[in-house]
Subunit: 410 residues, 4 copies
């Protein structure tokens, strides 16, 4: 039959294949509620259209797995790599990032066809040992874009005066975090990824650091606590703020977390009443730092956080399990609900070297001007996080589900 040559021969489903399919399918489930127009929106240069996320993650497999390693593979469309390369200089020129929202063509339907095409070829080589690391990288890359797809979409929908919902609200009881502290004695501690299992290059090499005795809050800062900070003049008192943060507050007229409006907040389910006990999210590093100063505490370092997280289940807490209007609701886990700003700059670990070639641009070149975040958020696909994971964003950004866990010296 004609399909014989179109589709790969049946192979027994391995764990990898199931994993590949389920991750790839989640991306498509995430766009199921979207129209072609919804999937084309780009609300700011930081964000990308949902359609672009679908295509870019596919380009990643097509380029680094198929084109580079599967002789005879022909590109789905020769013009598309220019459109869907994100930032890999070694891959040549590319469509300007702020112009991604101009891509009404290809349509969402065309992009889904692209996915099926690439999937059919990748699935044929899932068993190749030499490609296992690259494919696993591609899957973790796709998971990162699943989170971005949701946060970028939330930002775009928030700018529509109709405040439309991505989907119906998820009803989940709000769990108030305990007000206790995890304590840690400190000492010379080993941090960073080593051993089995996937990790990004920026999580290693594993190395030793000195950590002084400290405590980490067992709960995230809540909406109610943030409201108290506001009521106490937190956004108007320069003594609480880093200099750059104060300049940002004034220039951007910041006086509340992103998406707050009166007693409500914009969510993926539209405008919703704000739960006082739920963790605050959508705050910048500057806000997180000012809040910590106001509260008489401080932000943790990334190494304190990692040390404290040992033995905690990285798959715990509120994380992304299925396509839904995710929203933080609180738990006792160190992971989930919101990424947690640390006071650590995003810098290379000792003896860190990026990989050779275009894939080496994945993380290393961003090690300047950004802050490390730890944990995971309600939009992080469950299974993606771990204690050594280093998320990073510039200090003024707020469109991710970013929250605050306090620390203090002992």
């Amino acid at each position: 039959m004609a399909t014989t040559s179109d589709r790969p021969p049946a192979r027994p489903v391995t764990l990898t294949e199931e994993r590949y399919r389920s991750i790839r399918e989640l991306s498509e489930q995430l766009v199921a509620p979207l129209s072609d127009a919804d999937a084309t929106l780009q609300s700011m240069p930081d964000a990308s259209p949902a359609k672009w996320h679908l295509a870019h993650t596919t380009w990643f497999f097509e380029t680094f797995v198929l084109r580079d390693n599967c002789p005879g593979y022909r590109l789905f469309n020769e013009s598309w790599p220019f459109l869907f390369n994100s930032y890999y200089e070694a891959e040549g020129p590319r469509h300007a990032r702020p112009m991604r929202g101009m891509l009404s063509r290809p349509s969402l339907k065309d992009v889904l066809a692209y996915r099926r095409h690439v999937d059919s070829y990748v699935e044929r080589v899932l068993g190749r040992a030499d490609l296992a690391t690259l494919i696993e990288l591609g899957l973790n890359h796709e998971q990162q874009h699943q989170e971005l797809l949701l946060t970028d979409l939330k930002h775009a929908l928030s700018l529509n005066p109709l405040k439309p919902a991505y989907s119906a609200p998820v009803r989940r009881p709000t769990a108030r975090g305990s007000s206790g502290w995890h304590t840690c004695e400190g000492g010379v501690m080993r941090v960073g990824h080593a051993g089995e299992g996937f990790a990004f290059d920026n999580e290693g090499p594993s190395h030793e650091v000195v950590v002084e005795p400290f405590a980490l809050a067992s709960g995230l800062v809540t909406n109610q606590e943030w409201a108290d900070f506001i009521a106490d003049g937190g956004y108007r008192d320069p003594s609480l703020w880093l200099s750059d943060g104060w300049a940002w507050v004034q220039a951007s007229a910041i006086d509340a977390p992103l998406y707050w409006r009166e007693d409500e907040a914009f969510t993926l389910a539209g405008m919703q009443h704000r739960e006082p006990d739920a963790p605050v999210t959508h705050v910048s590093f500057y806000e997180a730092d000012a809040f910590a100063t106001w509260a008489g505490h401080r932000l943790p370092t990334e190494f304190e956080w990692e040390t404290a997280a040992r033995g905690h289940d990285p798959a715990g807490g509120v994380q992304l399990d299925e396509a839904a209007a995710v929203h933080p609701s609180g738990s006792q886990s160190l992971f989930g609900d919101g990424w947690q700003w640390t006071r650590s700059a995003y810098l290379p670990y000792p003896r860190f070297r990026p990989a050779a070639g275009a894939v080496g641009e994945y993380n290393g070149k961003f090690m300047s001007g950004q802050c490390v975040l730890k944990g995971a958020s309600c939009a992080t696909p469950r299974g993606h996080a771990r204690a050594t994971y280093r998320n990073f964003f510039p200090p003024e950004k707020r469109w991710q589900f970013t929250g605050v866990r306090l620390a203090k010296d002992l």
Copy 2:
């Protein structure tokens, strides 16, 4: 039946009704080749999504005809006036212009339903004498937006690296304009609109001006002539340029008309070979003025142009007749192909007074910082133009079909 109350009772089709329907239908034909995503694109603050044009023109009828004059009329959607008011301050706050591209909702389909709803009510009152002027204003307003819809769309599609086509190219022979001149003896001339027929308020009052003897080129400047200007260093010689124009050329690195690339130009039919004899379009006032200086001539004043155009058929030349990939191809008419920059600033005529109320904002408040253009373009709906018509744009804008007709003193 339920439909009885939903739809107006049948009335004999009058000229006005036919006219109303045919103009309203043309707008919908223009978007027929577009996906919802295409119709949502906004490429710059000056431009609007196709979908928005469809809705805004409908809002105009709904607001000024139905809401203000038809007791009992209920808005199609109470939230939409905020979205689809363009610039009428008297109508209250409105969605920020640069954010129109965020309107993935309402969908194109919803907007078309809005049109049907409003049309059904307007058609019931087409016979009301007290509304004739307002409705006629609404139709002329819609025609203006038809042209903007095409030029805004062209701009958006041009930013897609795939250079997609709106529709197949229209094959029309290029007609080289004659190289002769229309001469005029000058004197005290009456200009501006008076008498029967629709005109915008900015075309009156009719008044007298002194015009000195002059000649107006019988053809528009062609692509070949523009190529000669470029080859002669036209974009590099400050002595040819107004001071603001030279600053613009340098700051924006301008060296050719918008959409030119090598021997091609982007058109509504995608990248196409450039016809040397076709009229040049997509040039700014600054470029038009520099070209005229280089050619040893000058731009006409709006009054010279109007005087010369008397007796010419405003429905002549290349204008918009149906939804198609319109493109200038040249003719002997003073009208059509490209709007023609004049050296006249867009200012009020003597004794001009804007109308009372929101409709008074239509034209008067823009009488600052803009230049008058005369004629019509290949994207102007045939029947919309006339000799007294005053189109206007800021001197650096190029995304309209704007061209050059030279003048000289006698």
Copy 3:
């Protein structure tokens, strides 16, 4: 003696020599109260340091009179033309305008030596008939810069929180303008400069225009009237403003004339109580136009103003007679106190052609995006103004002594 060759031989003082000397001396008197640091200040790209004005006007004589017409003349300093050319493209590259404030060297003293050097050579050729027009142009050019020197300096001093005075206040009684109107029957009127006497090229050719019957206010709008406009919400009502003006008011948070602060205004004599009956100055075209709309009148056209000014003494009213802290105080003259915004765009008159060469850049290339002002201000050297004079500034500028004279249709 050595001085024989250094200085030109004595010649009988002619009218021209006296005129040359007195104009050149006024410039130096104007900087007498200034330190070298004062004379180096540049507060914005629109403004220039006092020192630069002194040098640029001298460069004008050195370049166009001496270098071009006096064989054997050697430049005072070969590096300085780069510094002191303002905008003459034909004279080659030049120091970037916004960087003029970096010229701590040459010192004010060096610049004064430059003036003496150039004066000594120009004075030798004052009798040459072939240079009379150029020298007269240079003197009128210098007078324009005397006014700019004072207004630029006022702006710079205003930004010093100490609000320093240029010199002691001039005590002059405030003369309330009459509230009457000059009426004019209209008709075909001849405007523009013709005949004897110096005029800039932009004042001609003389030509005919149609003017409809109108009236021109006999007094300028006063501070009190402006305060009434403010109190009535003038700066908060968009219906009074041109669209560009309203955008400017909002973006720049404009709510009063430049230099107003509570009941005072910054003047060249420091902060001073505001005289209610004195003419308002330091308003933009946008403000002038909004005020006129609020008052139920309009701004005059440049031709109405010129027609009305026939027979009025252009040397009347409050104008600059000596180096002092000039300030508007009101009079019955059409001239003086403040330049008067018209609703006329600054455009070429019919058959206008700029002169050949660099001097041709004097006026013509600025005929875009600016408004014509008529009259003269308290900082205009008396003798410089005339009815045909066309001053011009962009519509948002306020640092000149710009005021409002209303007009109305008859």
Copy 4:
């Protein structure tokens, strides 16, 4: 005599008094070659006028020593604190930083009088034990501003097309740094200031860190090596750059260190031939990092540098000894010539707490978005530097004497 009450009674000159006087005098020697206009220049918001540095350092003593601690002291001028507060929010509103160049008044002479006034009062309390720390802070603060005064002035003079010299060139033989390496075995090391002697608050608390075995270049990167980097396409190869650095290179069209022009460089002695063996300076962190990548090495961390510097004389190398046209010329010292970019972000040390009150704003609030630099430059007053010193600037700044010392892993 009248002077009795004007000047404090003679006291035996103590070490502190000599130190106070010599530091205060150096500031005034630095401005001796400057005119009032020179001393008023501000070339960019980052820089301040020389005059302002003189006054601000004096304001620091007047405010924190005299006003706060000497009952009965009356301010020299009540309006000046508004002018000369730099960034202390707790001290209330202040003159906008980018407007410091508008301060032609007070004159340089007035500012020098202010210094004498304040000095006379401070000298009376030099012996007070409770003020010793504050006064020492004031002196170290003044030394920092001495360096800024020179670098700000260099920047301002560089923008004058005449390329004027601050003073005659210092003729010093260029010493080529050795091409060897200082090696360090690593381990748990104690870093930060502890014990006797002045240090800024950001240098403590002393704490332990893990340092892995590394080597630090014994010489700074030279002009010749930088020229090789350029010749090898260093500024055109994105693979060498951090992402933010590459964006900066492209947006700002960077292709050489600041002040380079052909074979020359602008110096405080005007344009001078570039010595190939002298250390390169005026490079940004981004350039330093890209160079290190190109060279196959990396930048040191601040802790590596501090560890390596133990036992080195912080008063060695080329540093500022007297008012002169300082310029890097190379030496074997770890200190001097140019500040050395590290890859360490400027962050608080464990248990760091800013002091209470306005003085607490000195350092802590800047711990965001900046990089640590170690060593000292040719413009650093000799005696000011030490191994624990943490200088800091944003990664794109280049107007300081900033250079590169490479490191590598062992």
